[in-house]
């Protein structure tokens, strides 16, 4: 009698536990997607969003087996607005992961409340040096790069090509300064001039005059999104492209800028951690699906968004959906067991990637489209310069 009762209660308990577990596992995973969706930087945010949403869609609108709920907010490239939006996502919507921020100044403002609430941030773009070094935080993961990286690669390229006087232009905000620092770490020649226009400034008459006066033989620009579009157009219109070679990180040489500027960009070199012509299965699938879904080639921003979603997916899956166990989620994120469109992917001690960086050149491809072709590898298995000052426990 008693054993029958025991057996029944065990079965009931088991069913109960299974129900409870499955009740938890059908709870949606909430993602707070905060990005720049208006203003000159909007193209970048939209690309990241499109890449992110594509990955989730291809996984059946699920992350780690659980239904995915993506709450989208616009930070308007303003640290103030971004911070308020982050507060709302964290406190009102109680999201499990945050992602999406494009600009590093917004990132630094959004980071503080995110980490304080023990919410994980998986960055699909911004990688400020502060978070790679002395302010590194267990809740911050970069699925893209550290801000200096693409500029370091570019510095290497310019150095190898033998230019002697280079003018440098980057916007006056944390990532802009990281850019110049990174470039100068690998380029050892003379800096003809260093100009920091205001972020999201669109009229470069002054800067172009200064360039003319500086008599540089090459110009390195870090001007993402609309800024780059405007600068390149004005640079070419002022006739400076005849005298100076233009270099940029991938941010100013990818699909969004190419679409707006067009053939005057042919021959321009840029650096990136990814190219759409990379030959691994994950990437081939990504590019094909992206073109099918959105009717355009993906940019590196879209690739980063896609990888961020894959990383979150792996983390939810590997921590068995128990998102309240922060240590387990962190371990799962650190392991990064997913097929990145870049090929292999692994994290450094400071939760920033160690990866290869490539040189790309803008050409006309077989279909007559103006686009990037990935040339050689510039930096192999490259980490970042700040990992030594990161003192967080593993």
């Amino acid at each position: 009698m008693f054993s029958k009762f025991l057996r029944k209660s065990i079965v009931c308990a088991a069913v109960g536990v299974a129900l409870a577990a499955s009740a938890q596992s059908t709870d949606p995973v909430k993602i707070g997607f905060l990005s720049t969706l208006s203003g000159p930087g909007a193209g970048l945010g939209v690309d990241i969003r499109d890449g992110f949403q594509l990955a989730v869609k291809l996984a059946g609108n699920k992350l780690g087996g659980r239904p995915a709920e993506i709450i989208i907010a616009d930070d308007q490239a303003s640290p103030d607005v971004g911070r308020q939006a982050a507060d709302r996502l964290i406190k009102r919507d109680k999201v499990d992961f945050m992602t999406g921020v494009v600009f590093s100044n917004v990132m630094l403002a959004v980071g503080t409340p995110t980490f304080a609430s023990q919410t994980f941030y998986v960055s699909a773009n911004a990688g400020p040096s502060q978070y790679a070094g002395d302010q590194c935080n267990p809740y911050f993961f970069s699925a893209s790069w550290q801000n200096d990286n693409l500029h370091e690669a570019a510095g290497q390229v310019v150095q190898e090509k033998g230019f002697k006087r280079v003018a440098v232009i980057a916007p006056n905000y944390p990532a802009g300064k990281d850019a110049i620092t990174g470039f100068k770490r690998f380029y050892k020649g003379e800096i003809a001039s260093e100009t920091l226009p205001a972020l999201n400034q669109l009229n470069y008459g002054t800067e172009i005059s200064q360039l003319r006066a500086s008599k540089a033989d090459a110009v390195y620009i870090f001007l993402p999104g609309g800024m780059g579009i405007n600068f390149i157009k004005q640079f070419v219109a002022a006739g400076l492209s005849k005298d100076m070679t233009l270099f940029a990180p991938g941010f100013s040489g990818d699909e969004d800028v190419i679409k707006a500027v067009g053939e005057s960009m042919l021959g321009m070199f840029n650096t990136s951690q990814w190219g759409h012509d990379m030959n691994n299965p994950a990437n081939k699938r990504f590019v094909a699906e992206f073109e099918k879904e959105y009717g355009r080639l993906p940019s590196l921003y879209a690739a980063q968004g896609y990888d961020a979603a894959l990383l979150i997916n792996a983390a939810v899956r590997d921590s068995k959906g128990k998102l309240s166990d922060k240590a387990a989620v962190r371990k799962a994120l650190q392991a990064a067991k997913f097929d990145s469109v870049r090929g292999s992917f692994k994290f450094n001690k400071n939760q920033f990637p160690i990866q290869d960086y490539y040189m790309r050149v803008i050409v006309k491809d077989a279909k007559g489209r103006v686009t990037n072709r990935t040339m050689g590898t510039v930096l192999k298995n490259h980490g970042d310069a700040y990992v030594a000052s990161c003192k967080m426990p593993a």
């Binding site: 303003s78 640290p79 103030d80 911070r83 507060d87 100044n105 630094l108 972020l199």
Partner: protein, 320 residues
């Protein structure tokens, strides 16, 4: 007859104010019960802007000074408390009056120069000064520059009150707003307030009678600046973050809109305007990403239907 009585005697309207106050006091408890604690933060934010709008109303509505640079004083207060905290000054009892003092000082200096002009030129000069402060804040990278300044912690009050708890913060803010309204009411009903409003009505006559008009206006301007500075202090504490964008002309414009919306020249005009504007913004943004359209439509309707602001609607209903 009624108009004249109102200028000399701004009532606190206890019949309306007391229930409203009770509701505000009970609000955090209600929010907890409804598991909507986020809204306590929102309510704090609305109260802060109510304070700022009231301070603008003091000079705009009661003094007739259309200042398009009022948000600058909010910014000065916010930066003052953030910089003080950066330098190690964390106690609210020291930092907050200090910040108010700094705002008052800026208001004194800016007012001293601007009040020598009239009409649209006064508007433009105050705007110019606000823009200068804004660009100054952007350029000083030691204090964050364009990216803003983080406040490592909220100010410390002590005595069991912990500002990091949203509820405590809300009650402190509410207390300060209530005190400020009371202070403004007392001011308006005293001789100073009478003279100020008379100056708004007819400055030439007041000068002819022999009042030191410039001095009265300057005192009012300074007091309003100090009050705005206090709201800036609270805003900095709320967000943990100060950005130069709170000093932009569009922010001053928003404060003006709140004051005008609520009713210039009415004691509760600033509060009504701020509450209406921000609540509407929050409500509409729930439904649509294009909430600004709805906000614009409502504002337009209000200005066409209620020429003297929301407070005037309430007033006429009470008489009728």
């Amino acid at each position: 007859m009624d108009e004249a009585a109102d200028i000399l005697d701004h009532r606190l309207h206890w019949r309306w104010a007391l229930p409203a106050l009770m509701l505000l006091l009970a609000f955090p408890l209600l929010a907890s019960a409804a598991d909507a604690e986020f809204y306590v933060t929102l309510a704090s934010r609305i109260l802060i802007f109510a304070l700022a709008a009231t301070s603008l109303n003091l000079i705009l509505g009661f003094g007739g000074m259309v200042s398009f640079g009022h948000a600058a004083f909010m910014g000065v207060g916010a930066y003052a408390v953030a910089i003080a905290m950066q330098q190690g000054l964390g106690s609210a009892w020291v930092a907050w009056p200090l910040a108010m003092g700094v705002s008052a000082l800026f208001a004194l200096l800016i007012g001293a120069i601007s009040l020598r002009t009239q009409g649209v030129y006064f508007i433009m000069i105050t705007l110019a000064f606000a823009q200068m402060l804004y660009f100054l804040a952007i350029s000083i990278k030691a204090y964050g520059g364009d990216d803003g300044l983080q406040m490592p912690a909220r100010s410390a009050i002590g005595g069991g009150v912990d500002l990091t708890r949203d509820r405590d913060f809300y009650y402190v803010t509410l207390l300060l707003v209530v005190l400020s309204i009371y202070a403004v009411a007392r001011l308006l009903n005293a001789r100073f307030g009478h003279v100020l409003q008379a100056i708004r009505e007819n400055e030439t006559r007041m000068t002819a009678i022999g009042f030191p008009v410039y001095r009265y206006k300057l005192v009012a301007f300074t007091l309003a600046g100090a009050m705005a500075g206090l709201s800036g202090v609270l805003l900095a504490n709320l967000g943990g973050f100060v950005s130069p964008s709170i000093m932009q002309w569009s922010q001053s414009g928003m404060l003006m809109v709140m004051a005008i919306l609520g009713g210039v020249g009415y004691l509760y005009g600033g509060i009504l305007g701020a509450v209406f504007f921000l609540l509407l913004e929050e409500l509409l943004s729930h439904y649509t990403i294009h909430w600004q359209l709805g906000l614009g439509v409502v504002l337009l309707l209000v200005v066409l239907v209620a020429p003297n602001g929301l407070a005037s609607l309430l007033k006429s209903r009470r008489i009728g």
